[in-house]
């Protein structure tokens, strides 16, 4: 009697069981190797102590971490209102760029110009121009806030990027889907909303996660026009202590937020894929 029957498993189950075990062992060993190499070899380098003191300084970290967390609330706040605005504006620009009818030609042109300009111009310039320039035109106090205008700069820039990704997603849906939906009597709008976009968005989730993560970090660019968010705070400490550890602290905070978010998105995608196929 073959071995797998004895174990009450089919041949495939046995094989997969073994494979899984083997790969777990490999994963374990290789991780250990890498970690060991880093932990034992890097400190042997002549400059390690200095580097450690500059980048991984426990004392500096504990001293600055609470304040960094505090400043991170500013990031969360700006992120919280910018992200939805970006998603909506980005989608609208993508739809404008994809307008089919020749009558909507101006919309197409506008969409293309928007993405070209706001993608091409460095974010910092947009932040300066809108964040200092527009208030500089003579707006009174509550309306010249760098939070408002800086966020607008971020929203415009990121919308351009996000729009291009949506467009990639829309173009990746085969036109026969559009035909089929139109043939049912749905309007162009309904076709887009119910048939094309759900497939398009699914196709670009990882790319849009990219943008979400990049945005979370680029909120920091607002610090150029004043707001003290986590990165500026880290920079202040960097100057004060002449030490880069506060940046490591900031990175830890970012990772704590982004890694679970990306893992969860991946998990959702994988589950959906399994369900449908």
């Amino acid at each position: 009697m073959p071995k797998y029957k004895a174990a009450g498993m089919t041949r495939r189950e046995l094989y997969e069981h073994q494979q899984r075990r083997r790969s777990l062992i490999i994963a374990g060993i290789s991780t250990i190797c890498v970690v060991v190499t880093i932990i034992f070899l890097v400190p042997l380098a002549p400059g390690w102590e200095k580097v450690q003191k500059s980048f991984f300084n426990g004392a500096v970290l504990t001293k600055t971490f609470p304040k960094l967390l505090d400043a991170f609330r500013v990031n969360i706040m700006i992120f919280a209102w910018s992200a939805p605005a970006i998603a909506i504006l980005g989608l609208m620009i993508a739809l404008a760029r994809d307008a089919k009818s020749p009558a909507l030609f101006p919309l197409r042109i506008f969409g293309a110009a928007f993405t070209d300009i706001f993608r091409g111009v460095p974010v910092i310039l947009t932040v300066y121009l809108i964040g200092f320039g527009i208030p500089g035109l003579g707006l009174p106090r509550p309306w010249n806030s760098p939070f408002i205008w800086g966020s607008l700069a971020l929203i415009l820039t990121y919308s351009a990027y996000v729009a291009e990704i949506f467009r990639a997603g829309i173009d990746s849906v085969h036109p026969s889907q559009r035909s089929a939906a139109l043939s049912l009597g749905l309007s162009e709008r309904q076709v887009m909303k119910d048939v094309i976009l759900p497939q398009a968005i699914r196709n670009v989730v990882p790319s849009q996660m990219n943008m979400l993560i990049a945005l979370q970090k680029d909120v920091s660019l607002l610090s150029f026009i004043g707001p003290v968010e986590i990165f500026r705070q880290a920079g202040v400490y960097k100057s004060l202590f002449a030490n880069f550890t506060p940046y490591v602290g900031a990175a830890i905070i970012f990772l704590i937020v982004t890694i679970p978010a990306t893992r969860y998105a991946d998990y959702l995608m994988a589950r959906q894929m399994r369900e449908r196929r």
């Binding site: 500059s54 200092f132 500089g136 010249n144 150029f224 026009i225 004043g226 003290v228 500026r232």
Partner: protein
């Protein structure tokens, strides 16, 4: 003599300055001319250490490059680095070559503010994030609104011009320069007494941690202080710094 064999390049004395370097510390962003306070101090120290004018090499560096671990590309770095304990643990500082009082610069809309801590508390504050002005605002002014922080002087200018902040903290020479040349309608309304507290702002030359050159530089600085050369350089380039009222 003292410095021989201890410099980056044999027979040369390499001084780093900012990119760009500002008035009145360096004139026209050209330290080679020896014009401007820090440029002049640099040459005076070099001379004292026995370097000819031609042997002084100027390089540019950012703050970050100055504090990176590892090999540096300069012997000393002069760009208004305030000496602090924290920084001293990572890099070495020479004895101070200037003691800068902190001063308050206000935009056109706030020129009427009285030079008292009480009045200053109600202003919207700004400062350059990498300077000790941040600590000064937090410790001495304790404003009602959290200050906004910027990357450099130009950004603070823009924020004052856009009326996003009322007041900014600089060292006095910089504040005077900005008010006179850069920001229309602005005014330096007061300075903090430089002896007031332990966190008086003293500028020192920055060197790599453990740099053997430190003792030579210190000796040279001490001797030009004693001989009055330093004071005369200060008088030449930073003469207007008196006459600003003290903040009470």
């Amino acid at each position: 003599h003292c410095a021989s064999g201890k410099t980056l390049e044999k027979g040369k004395f390499t001084i780093a300055t900012g990119n760009p370097a500002y008035f009145p510390w360096v004139m026209d962003d050209a330290p080679e001319s020896g014009q401007g306070f820090e440029a002049a101090v640099g040459y005076a120290v070099a001379k004292e250490m026995g370097f000819a004018k031609e042997d002084v090499v100027w390089v540019r560096s950012s703050f970050d490059e100055a504090i990176q671990p590892g090999v540096k590309n300069f012997d000393v770095n002069m760009q208004q680095y305030s000496i602090t304990d924290e920084r001293d643990q990572v890099v070495d500082f020479s004895v101070p070559y200037y003691t800068a009082p902190m001063a308050v610069l206000v935009g056109a809309s706030a020129t009427g503010t009285a030079a008292t801590i009480e009045a200053l508390k109600n202003l919207k504050w700004g400062a350059v994030g990498s300077t000790t002005a941040v600590q000064k605002i937090a410790n001495s002014v304790k404003p009602n609104n959290a200050p906004l922080l910027y990357a450099d002087n130009a950004d603070v200018n823009a924020a004052i011009t856009a009326n996003q902040i009322d007041a900014a903290m600089f060292d006095l020479p910089t504040a005077l320069f900005l008010s006179a040349v850069m920001i229309e309608g602005s005014k330096v309304i007061g300075q903090f007494p430089s002896s007031e507290s332990d966190d008086a702002d003293q500028f020192g030359m920055l060197m790599e941690e453990g740099n053997p050159l430190k003792s030579c530089v210190d000796t040279a600085l001490n001797s030009i202080t004693k001989s009055g050369i330093l004071a005369s350089i200060e008088a030449q380039w930073l003469q207007d710094t008196t006459g600003v009222p003290l903040i009470k």
